[in-house]
């Protein structure tokens, strides 16, 4: 547990990092970023609150099982999203330019960027974002528990 100032600031920064990570995830097909980067940012947010509150406290709030479940859910939705294109081929981006959700077309060349495009890509971005968030978060939590155990010893 770090000092009061760090804890309060972490509390303020945590939603900020989270929303920024989700911004990066959601705009993966428009701006630099995407599932991995956004997930890593969010996982760093988890690491931030974990270090500022200490493992003894944080393990009650952020459960490892929940993070693992997030990881499994993200991977499953990723592979299912990839699987929906099996009619033509695995990983076929059938949703792009189809007019459905995320199905708008983009004009060729530089443009300001439209969120409602790119078909399966935003969905996969979101899935991978959740997966990376869970995965890296749980790695940090495991490492923290190891550090804590060495402290106790």
């Amino acid at each position: 547990m770090m000092s009061k100032i760090v804890r309060t600031q972490a509390n303020i920064l945590y939603p900020l990092i989270l929303i920024f990570g989700f911004y990066i995830v959601a705009h993966g097909h428009l701006t630099p970023g995407g599932g991995f980067q956004g997930g890593a940012v969010i996982a760093t947010g988890v690491a931030l609150v974990a270090i500022s509150f200490g493992y003894g406290k944080i393990k009650k709030w952020i459960k490892k099982t929940n993070l693992t479940a997030a990881e499994a859910v993200g991977l499953l939705s990723f592979i299912i999203a990839a699987f929906t294109g099996i009619g033509t081929s695995f990983f076929c981006n059938w949703l792009a330019n189809s007019g459905l959700i995320f199905g708008d077309t983009v004009p060729y060349g530089p443009n300001p960027g439209y969120l409602n495009t790119a078909g399966l890509l935003p969905i996969m971005n979101l899935a991978v974002g959740i997966e990376v968030l869970g995965g890296l978060g749980v790695v940090v939590m495991y490492m923290l528990s190891a550090a804590k155990a060495s402290e106790v010893k």
Binding site: F36, G109, P110, G113, Y142
Partner: protein
Amino acid sequence: MLYNLPYITVAVVIAIGLYAMLYKRNLIKIVIGLSLIESGVNLFLVSLGYVQGGIAPIYTNAPKTEMVLPTPQALTLTSIVIGVATTAMLLSFCIVIYRHYGTLDSEKVRRLRG
């Protein structure tokens, strides 16, 4: 005129990493060396795709000029995540080895030999 300088950096960084892996006896130092090699390879991949005067391959609000090659960047993304996965696993191995052996010296962590 930036004559192949990134590639030279890559060579030096990989050599430093290999030096650490060959000569350092601390296991965490070895992992640091591995991490350095991985960073060097990433830098190599990215600089392969660089085109003189190009911009990032993103069409959002981009000026109209040449673009750098996108494939190496995609490969590097994959490689970075693989690198952090490897590093995390190796470090957890180090922790368990330290708990059982009480040391991280590679001259002492060798019960398996012969």
